[in-house]
């Protein structure tokens, strides 16, 4: 589904990603862990086409297409989704209007008719209940005045509506209490299927108790320095990252 080869990327002229190689197949869940500043969020943002990140080298193939050539909106319509670490507030644009515009653009992209108002509301209700998002939030402006937990739940709600093929969770667990974490994880798990893949970017093992990864990668200094199974996450939790640094990132 996704093939990243020797990916290098800059932010403000500084090289953050220094040669990422990663392959994700259909139905797989990959966790990417690593200390602060190792490039985890950069990888997520580069994949969805954030214009503040400049790709300087390498390639990304997604569903057989050159991902780096696509606009952010086309990437979304092709089924790529990033749950943002810091969701943006958009004063004056209601959640309902925003989601309806997004969903209908996805449908137009696929050659489908826009959803009628009543069908849309039905869909929204179903997805909202899935992540236990307060219905009042939908009439409010996007993320405006939402608590930290509500913003994260809102990201998962959007994901539930758009049903992405490849979802990237960028520290979706940060700032969540245990209950909220479980709700978010349940939402993610309900959406997983043999046809869909996930990348979970996180600092902690905690989220991985709820969302079981098939693979765990350690990102350090802009490269993946170690890969393994779920047991690697547990080892990181008990030993930290220093031992990997000492292994020299080989």
């Amino acid at each position: 589904m996704l093939k990243i080869k020797d990916l290098h990327a800059n932010v403000d002229g500084h090289e953050i990603l220094k040669g990422i190689n990663l392959e994700i197949k259909k139905g797989e869940t990959h966790a990417i862990m690593g200390p602060n500043g190792s490039g985890k969020s950069t990888l997520g943002n580069v994949l969805v086409g954030n214009p503040n990140y400049e790709v300087t080298q390498g390639s990304v193939e997604y569903l057989g297409k050159n991902l780096l050539e696509l606009d952010p909106e086309a990437r979304s319509c092709e089924g790529l989704f990033l749950s943002f670490q810091y969701p943006v507030e958009i004063p004056g644009v209601s959640m309902t209007k925003f989601m309806r515009a997004a969903l209908n653009q996805h449908r137009t992209y696929k050659g489908l008719e826009p959803l009628s108002a009543s069908d849309f509301l039905k869909l929204v209700k179903e997805k909202r209940e899935m992540v236990k998002l307060d219905s009042k939030l939908l009439s409010r402006s996007v993320n405006e005045g939402f608590s930290g937990g509500e913003k994260k739940r809102n990201e998962i709600f959007q994901m539930a509506v758009l049903e992405p093929t490849l979802a990237i969770m960028d520290e979706t667990d940060s700032g969540l209490d245990i209950d909220a974490l479980r709700i978010v994880a349940d939402g993610v798990n309900q959406l997983s299927s043999p046809e869909r893949s996930q990348i979970i970017i996180t600092h902690y093992q905690r989220l991985l108790d709820y969302i079981k990864p098939d693979f765990v990668h350690v990102l350090l200094g802009g490269r993946i320095v170690k890969s393994g199974g779920p047991e690697l996450a547990l080892e990181l939790e008990s030993r930290g990252y220093d031992w990997i640094k000492q292994e020299g990132g080989k």
Binding site: V48, E73, F84, E89, A101, A102, S141
Partner: protein, 448 residues
């Protein structure tokens, strides 16, 4: 003296007899003084602080057709131009150029005692009343444009709401500019809502012919004690309409007046809005919104004069400027020495969509009382790139995302309207405007 000023003095001297014989005595009564003041002041140059951002003289140069001899209107304006607000019943009056059209649509919906009619006819009928109010707050000594309008104007609209009368149905004034060649139009409005009266007035401005229009306008609004007036003005003209308007509001105690000036399509517009808070507990709401592109020019100049204690004012102006559009906002809040416990808030926010678009923001506060609250803020910026990207990342294409943001930006002003169908209509007009689909009359071909 500049040429344009001289031309208008000559025009007045030449046409004076005709102007006078086709208007009413009260209106004629102010002409001589007004013209003297006009001569003294002259059309403002950009050296004058108030008109620093609009080259007034330039737009008054050239030859204009006038209708001082009041040639009768020989067609039905409501057939020429429909300006319906969906799902909203309104009493409709028409002003074709500066002539009041005699038939008022749905006049029967007005409560007893409410008058809507031609300014000059009513001035002949209510002589004493007019002598007391006409031209009393539109000062001709300070602004040449007000002086010129007072010297030349012959007709307009008069609206009178007697005390304790609530007018449920909005009164809609449809102003139409029409002509075969460059035309000068001078309009005048006089609005009075007495004690405890309530009224919503919607004024729509259109231009239906593809020629130059120069329009001067003066609106005087008197709000009696505890009166409530909402005055919504929408400009939907075209690139060759040059409009110079001054609105004066006088508020008695506990009155609430909103003036909301929305410029959707124009050429050059200069809107002066002046509030005089003369009675304690009065509240002024002064709002405006503009969407400009190409080489459109919009200048909103406001003055909120807090003359007595315990008054509040709220001001919000928002601009979206595209292409080479120029916007200006000058907002003066004057708190006089007696006006303790004034609470006043002014906000001006603008978005420049291109590098060539220009916005000049001048918040001005003069506070002579020491126990007051006055807040003000002015920002000029671009669309929020982070918000744009967030929407793109959800599949919304960039153009649509921009539209959603611009729409959200100006909606804050539209949402001040307290008539739901009108609010909804404005939302739709704004959306069409942003999509480049706003063309509902012949003159609007110019806007493409």
């Amino acid at each position: 003296m500049n040429t344009a000023t001289k031309n208008f003095i000559d025009l007045y001297t030449r046409e004076r007899e005709v102007i006078q014989s086709n208007s009413s005595e009260i209106i004629n009564g102010l002409r001589t003084d007004a013209m003297l003041n006009f001569k003294k002041l002259g059309l403002p140059s950009r050296k004058l602080e108030k008109y620093k951002y609009t080259d007034v003289q330039k737009y008054f140069e050239g030859d204009f057709l006038t209708n001082f001899d009041r040639k009768p209107i020989n067609y039905e304006p409501s057939e020429v131009f429909k300006c319906e607000v969906p799902n909203l019943n309104t009493v409709q009056a028409f002003l074709l150029n500066d002539s009041f059209y005699p038939t008022i649509d749905k006049k029967e919906l007005l409560p007893k005692g409410v008058t809507v009619g031609s300014l000059s006819q009513m001035a002949d009928r209510f002589i004493e009343w007019f002598a007391k109010y006409y031209g009393k707050i539109a000062n001709t000594r300070e602004d040449a444009l007000v002086a010129l309008n007072t010297a030349l104007v012959q007709d307009g609209v008069f609206i009178y709401i007697p005390k304790n009368t609530v007018v449920d149905v909005p009164i809609q004034l449809i102003n139409i500019l029409s002509g075969d060649q460059s035309t000068l139009v001078n309009r005048r409005l006089l609005i009075m809502a007495e004690e405890n009266a309530q009224v919503n007035i919607l004024m729509c401005n259109h231009a239906v012919s593809a020629v130059d229009f120069l329009q001067t306008g003066v609106t005087e609004i008197f709000a009696g004690e505890n009166a409530h007036i909402n005055f919504y003005e929408i400009e939907e003209t075209h690139s060759r309409t040059h409009r110079f308007n001054s609105t004066f509001v006088h508020q008695a105690a506990n009155s609430v007046v909103q003036v909301n000036t929305m410029t959707l399509m124009n050429g050059v517009s200069c809107n002066n809005t002046n509030f005089h808070l003369a009675g304690q507990g009065a509240h002024a709401d002064c709002n405006g919104m503009t969407i400009s592109d190409k080489e459109q020019h919009i200048d909103n100049i406001t003055l909120i004069d807090h003359a007595v204690p315990h008054c509040t004012s709220h001001e919000l102006f928002k601009y979206v400027l595209d292409d080479k559009a120029v916007g200006a906002f000058t907002g003066m809040i004057l708190v006089r020495p007696d006006a303790q416990h004034t609470n006043s808030e002014q906000t001006n926010r603008s978005i420049c969509l291109t590098k060539e678009a220009r916005m000049y923001a001048r918040p001005q506060l003069e506070i002579y009382a020491d126990d007051v609250r006055c807040g003000h803020g002015a920002t000029v910026g671009q669309l929020d790139e982070k918000a744009l990207f967030y929407m793109q990342a959800r599949g919304i294409n960039r153009d649509e995302a921009r539209l959603l943001l611009m729409f959200a930006f100006v909606n804050e002003v539209i949402d001040k309207i307290n008539i739901d169908p009108l609010k909804e209509h404005l939302h739709q007009l704004v959306e069409r405007r942003f999509r480049g689909e706003l063309c509902n009359c012949a003159g609007s071909a110019l806007n493409k």
